[in-house]
Structures are given as structure tokens and as C-alpha cells.
């Protein structure tokens, strides 16, 4: 049977979002078919982990029993576990500045053994103060910011950071 021309399914283009669909906000895939875990350092005390699960992984594991295990690299036994349920991302707060971390996504067997299904990249959190490492031959940096100068620097930084955040990328300055 021949389908009349005008009733044929139109060009498959239509399966893709029309360009500049101004009325509706096109939605994005909820998950991708890949098991991967990423870790990003956000600030001296916060990490952000996000992950996706492949179709196989989703079939083979009880998703809502997933756990995120975060290790501080170089410190044996230094890890903490969080039950992450069916979440796809997690903020890890209260970590140490200037320290290295890595995470694993996995599953706690009834025996208590942790089975990993994905390992993250290692990350290093930033310092939140002057480095302790100084070279004896060098002038101490703090001499450049002596007395009121150092105080002004510290007070000023905070204010600066507040003001610049609202000033950068100008066209949409929040009032």
C-alpha cells in the first residue's frame, strides 16, 4: 500500500528539536549509557561528584543502594561512605584544603565488603592560605603586605570577591 505523499512521515528532521523553539524548553537525556564517575574540586572544603550508569549497570545493580566512597589519597584508611540512593550527583563537604581525593561508586555486599563499579579521577583541593613552603633565600611574602596592608588585603579580598561576582560578565548585572 502506498501512503499518500502528504501523509508520509515527514522528514526525520522533526524528531530533532526545532531550532529556536522559543516556547518550550527542550529537555535533555536523563542518563547516558555509560558508567563513569567524575570528581571535581569546588573550593578548599567541597568536592562535587557526578556519575552516569550504563544500561547494563542499571540492570545488574540495585541502583538505590549505591554508595559513594571518598578517599583522601596518601592517608590509609581515610575514607568515608555515603549512601547516595538513586542520586546522580553529590556534594562532599568538609574535606581538607590542599589535599588529594579520589572516589569510588559501589555497592556494599551483605558481608560488608565494598564492590566498586566506577572509580573517579583524582583531584586536589586548593589551598586557603599562604603556603608553608618557603625558600630561606627568599624574602617572606608577608613583608610585602605588612601592618595595615595585610589587614586591608584580607578585608579587601572578601569585599572584592563579593563585588566582582556581581560585576563580571556585565550585561546581566543583578541589581
Amino acid at each position: 500500500m502506498t501512503v499518500p505523499r502528504e501523509r508520509r512521515p515527514r522528514n526525520v528532521t522533526m524528531t530533532w528539536p526545532p531550532l529556536d523553539s522559543s516556547r518550550t524548553e527542550p529537555s535533555l537525556p536523563a542518563d547516558y549509557d555509560r558508567t563513569a564517575l567524575y570528581l571535581l574540586p569546588r573550593d578548599p572544603v567541597t568536592l562535587y561528584a557526578f556519575w552516569s550508569l550504563s544500561n547494563d549497570t542499571r540492570r545488574n545493580w540495585e541502583q538505590d543502594r549505591l554508595r559513594l566512597r571518598v578517599y583522601q589519597i596518601g592517608q590509609s584508611q581515610a575514607f568515608f561512605d555515603t549512601a547516595v540512593g538513586s542520586a546522580r550527583s553529590w556534594y562532599i563537604t568538609g574535606v581538607n584544603p590542599d589535599a588529594s581525593y579520589q572516589a569510588e561508586l559501589g555497592y556494599l555486599k551483605t558481608s560488608g565488603e565494598f564492590t566498586s563499579i566506577a572509580t573517579s579521577n583524582p583531584v586536589h583541593t586548593p589551598r586557603d592560605r599562604f603556603s608553608d613552603l618557603t625558600d630561606a633565600n627568599w624574602l617572606n611574602i608577608t613583608e610585602l603586605y605588612t601592618g595595615s596592608r595585610i589587614l586591608r588585603l584580607q578585608r579587601g579580598s572578601e569585599e572584592l570577591l563579593t563585588t566582582t561576582a556581581t560585576s563580571i560578565s556585565s550585561p546581566w548585572n543583578p541589581k
Partner: protein, 526 residues
């Protein structure tokens, strides 16, 4: 004999806002306002230094989306039309305000501004502002530095190195294509840095970046000169640090110059103040009020009550503030020179759009600062970071600290509950891009076009502007729509390639819509 140096750095950026199918797009007006209020007025200031033989050196970054937009025929034509429209309104306003001398005087100032803009845009610059900047670089007034392809926030993209490499490489190629030169410096979007980026930047041929203050102060080992000399990363990339004092005098909303009561008020605009019937042709369809660029009041004080703007009084204030800035730098630099065994450099980076757009008198202030520096004192001279490295090629080796110039100083502005959902899509897209670039290392014809377009969509999705808008809560719907569109277009092309059913019509439409980086080649993702 000069005791030290001041490096003024102006960073210009706008996201790629080109909506070929919408003739009246609010976001394109960002570009038109920036041209009218910032780029053309600053070019006039720079040209004045050249004409008068002022020994001026200023560092400027023009991001790739901005370079592309300033040379996009459609946007150039739309700017020209929008300027005509603004002038039409200005002439109506001249008539309307004829009996009110105080108000009329302000309208005449705008008449002069926009008439000068129209003349110079068409006849002096031949509708090509990029060439105007390039000539000023040749003339030794400006050192123009490169930046990331779409202002991607590099530290948060860094776990897929191909994404960062592409941001850098496309940024450098776009610089070469528009400015016909090799860049030496690189503007890190939002001053966002994390150790490791320096290696990719150095490998890309770049020699210096600018970090926020604590990026240098918290470096390890502790930098000998604080922010008053650059340090070298292990890779060999030099990192300069933002000076707190000079930044605060300009940026700070509490004590910065731009908040002075004599300066023009940004928020009071006739687009909001005048009768809808009268102003309707100059705002958005359906009577949605927007800024027209005609603003008649001075800041006056912390009240709703505003007085008319007095251009002469504001000009005098800009001169006073410039004198104060130069005076403070003299004292700062002579103090530092006494502590250091080399000449200090004070690095003062600002958003270029602050000058003229937000701070209307900014270009005049900058003009006075540079002229006073040249003529009224001998303590310091202007320099660019590139020139400083030629004078002092030996510097301490130290690893800068992860940092940005955003709120709280690290990555939180671009990674919080309003925008963290962007990253899984960006990371997956980068992996898909790598996968296809490796599967098809030498594609040609339709497939190559599709792969190149995927790279464009990925780069556009990576603009840090979307995350920033979501955090600040301004035009959030627009940012979400832009991000989702680019990711969906990317994923659509990916799926079509995987299923071997590329649709040329759709691809052509995408190429015409997201037409940034016309000469881009996807192969560097492989």
C-alpha cells in the same frame, strides 16, 4: 627613572548571541550596547593617545565569540539598524525636551555620542572594529591577548583534557585568523585556574596568564614578591596576579569610583520612564520595556529621587578620580620598589564593558589615567605583562593555587545547585566528540561537516556564561534554552552519525544558525 610598572588589562567578552530568525532579540542588544557605549568610545580614547603621541600601553583581551560577532555580516547590519533607530529616538527626544534645558543638554550629549558612533563605525572603521583594534596593536598602543574559544570555565572542564585543549586551540586559531598575529598572553575566563592547565596553555604556544590575587599569594613555594612580580609554573607559563588595591578602587560597589553621585545612573532609562505609546517603537514588541540607552540622571544619592545628569560635572569628577588613582599608584609603587630588588608590576584587570556601559564615564577616566601617568609623574610607567617578561625573563618557579575572580574565589559561581546539572552533559558530550574524532580521523564531505558542527555545538554549550546566568538568576530561561539547544543539537548529530543517516537539510540549518568558527576542524579532538 621609573621605579615600577602598572599593567592595565581590559577584558572584553560577550557570549555568542546571534539569532538569525529573530529580528528583535534582546540578547543581541547586549552586543549593540557594548559597541555604542564601550568599544567605540574606548577606540576613540586609544586613537587619541596615538594621535597625541602619548606613551600608552594597555592590555586587551577580545574573546573569540566577540571577534566572531564583530565580523558577522548579519550582526553588523543589525547593529547599524539599531543605531539608526536609537538616533531616531534621540532626535524625537531633542524635540520633546526643547523646553527643559537641563534635560535637553543630556539629550544633546547622546546625539553627539550616537552621531559620532555612526560616522566612525561606517566611515572611519568601515564597519570592522576588529581591524581597528588590530591596528592599535600594530601601533604599539595595545597588546591583545587570546582567550578560550567560548569563555569555557576551564578548571571545571579539565577532566576531559580534549575539551580544554579545544577551548585553547580554537581560541588561539580565532585570534590568528582575526588579528593576524601569534598571541603571547591568554585571558583565563573568569581568571579560572587549576594546576595542570598551565601545561596545556604552554603547549598551545602561550606564555602568560593573569590570576586573581590569591591564585598567586597561595602559590607554593610562597612567592617572593607576592603579586608584584610574575611566577613561572613548572611548565614555563608565567602567571601574574591581580592587585587588590587598584582593583578595589574601581570595582568595589561601596568605595569604588563608579558609584560617585555625579556619575550617570545606569538604571533610570527612558525605556522605563516614558509613556508606552511614545516609547513603544523603541522597546520590545508587546510593550515589554527595556533599556534604550538614553539615561538622563546622575546617581544623585541612595534615593529614588534623581537629578539630571551634568556631563561637565561628571567629566571633572572623572579627572579627579583619575588623579586619585595615579596618586595612589605612585605611592604604592614607590613603597614596593623600596622593598623589592627589582621593579614591581601592579596588574589591574577589569571587564572592558565596565567602562562606558556600566560606568559611563569609564572611558574618560581611563583617558585621564593614561595621560596623567605619561605627563604628571615619573614614579611608574605603563607596561604589558608581555613587555615585563622581556625585561625580567628570570622569575621564581612556583605552582599557583586553584582560583578564580568569582564570588568566594574558587569555582562555586559555576558549580552550585543552580547549574551543576550542566556538567554531566558537558562531560558526556566531550567523550562522544573524542569517540567520533577517533573513529573518523579523516572524514570528508557531509560527515566532516557534521563533525565540525558537533564541535561548534559542544564549544557553545561550554560557555561559562550559561552557568553564570543561572547563578545570578537574571535571564535564566534564555541560558537554559541555549544550553539545552546546543546539547540536543550535538546529541542529534551524534545519533545521526552513529546510525549513518545524516540529514543534510538539518545540518545546513544548524550551520547557518550556529555559524561561529567557520574554519573549525574537529580533528584535534582525536
Amino acid at each position: 627613572m621609573t621605579q615600577g610598572y602598572l599593567a592595565l588589562v581590559l577584558h572584553a567578552h560577550l557570549p555568542f548571541v546571534r539569532h538569525s530568525k529573530h529580528p528583535c532579540c534582546l540578547e543581541e542588544k547586549w552586543l549593540f550596547e557594548a559597541i555604542n557605549e564601550t568599544y567605540l568610545p574606548l577606540l576613540r580614547v586609544f586613537e587619541g593617545w596615538k594621535r597625541d603621541g602619548i606613551p600608552a600601553r594597555v592590555t586587551v583581551s577580545l574573546t573569540p565569540p566577540l571577534l566572531e560577532m564583530l565580523r558577522d555580516e548579519l550582526l553588523v547590519e543589525r547593529y547599524s539598524q539599531s543605531l539608526n533607530k536609537t538616533l531616531e529616538l534621540t532626535y524625537k527626544e531633542l524635540a520633546r525636551t526643547a523646553t527643559n534645558p537641563a534635560e535637553h543638554r543630556v539629550v544633546r550629549m547622546y546625539q553627539e555620542l550616537y552621531e559620532t558612533n555612526r560616522y566612525e563605525f561606517h566611515h572611519r572603521y568601515n564597519r570592522d572594529l576588529v581591524a581597528a583594534f588590530a591596528r592599535l596593536q600594530e601601533a604599539g598602543i595595545l597588546e591583545i591577548i587570546a582567550s578560550a574559544a567560548t569563555h569555557g570555565y576551564l578548571p571545571l572542564l579539565a577532566e576531559t583534557p580534549s575539551a580544554v585543549k579545544a577551548q585553547i586551540q580554537v581560541g588561539v586559531e580565532t585570534y590568528r585568523r582575526h588579528l593576524a598575529k601569534e598571541p603571547v598572553g591568554f585571558w583565563l575566563p573568569e581568571c579560572g585556574f587549576s594546576p595542570g592547565l598551565d601545561e596545556l596553555l604552554f603547549a598551545g604556544g602561550l606564555r602568560y596568564v593573569i590570576l586573581d590575587t590569591h591564585g598567586i599569594l597561595y602559590a607554593s613555594p610562597r612567592p617572593r614578591y607576592g603579586t608584584y612580580a610574575p611566577i613561572y609554573c613548572q611548565s614555563g607559563l608565567a602567571a601574574f596576579g591581580r592587585d587588590v588595591e587598584s582593583s578595589k578602587q574601581v570595582w568595589s560597589q561601596q568605595e569604588g569610583y563608579p558609584g560617585d553621585y555625579d556619575y550617570r545612573d545606569f538604571y533610570r532609562d527612558i525605556g522605563f520612564d516614558l509613556d508606552l505609546d511614545y516609547i513603544a517603537p523603541y522597546i520590545l514588541p508587546e510593550g515589554k520595556r527595556i533599556h534604550t540607552g538614553l539615561k538622563y540622571y546622575r546617581i544623585t544619592g541612595p534615593t529614588q529621587y534623581k537629578e539630571y545628569y551634568d556631563p561637565e560635572r561628571a567629566r571633572e569628577k572623572a579627572a579627579v578620580h583619575a588623579g586619585n588613582f595615579v596618586f595612589n599608584r605612585e605611592h604604592q609603587i614607590s613603597y614596593l620598589a623600596g622593598l623589592m630588588d627589582r621593579k614591581p608590576i601592579v596588574v589591574a584587570p577589569y571587564d572592558m564593558e565596565l567602562f562606558g556601559h556600566w560606568w559611563f564615564e569609564g572611558p574618560k577616566w581611563l583617558d585621564y589615567v593614561v595621560r596623567k601617568t605619561a605627563c604628571d609623574q615619573k614614579v611608574f610607567t605603563l607596561i604589558t605583562p608581555g613587555d615585563y617578561l622581556k625585561i625580567y625573563p628570570r622569575n621564581q618557579v612556583s605552582t599557583p593555587c586553584m582560583s578564580s575572580w568569582g564570588w568566594k574565589g574558587y569555582h562555586e559561581v559555576w558549580l552550585n545547585s543552580t547549574n551543576d546539572w550542566l556538567y554531566p552533559h558537558l562531560y558526556e558530550a566531550a567523550l562522544r566528540m573524542e569517540e567520533l574524532a577517533r573513529t573518523y580521523p579523516r572524514a570528508s564531505g557531509l560527515l566532516a561537516r557534521a563533525l565540525n558542527q558537533m564541535a561548534r555545538e559542544l564549544l557553545l554549550a561550554q560557555s561559562s556564561d550559561w552557568a553564570f546566568i543561572m547563578k545570578t538568576g537574571t535571564v535564566v530561561e534564555y541560558a537554559k534554552k541555549r544550553f539545552n539547544n546546543h546539547i540536543n543539537r550535538f546529541n542529534g548529530l551524534y545519533q545521526q552519525i552513529k546510525e549513518d543517516r545524516l540529514e543534510e537539510d538539518w545540518l545546513s540549518e544548524l550551520e547557518a544558525t550556529d555559524n561561529i568558527f567557520g574554519t573549525l576542524n574537529y580533528q584535534f579532538y582525536g
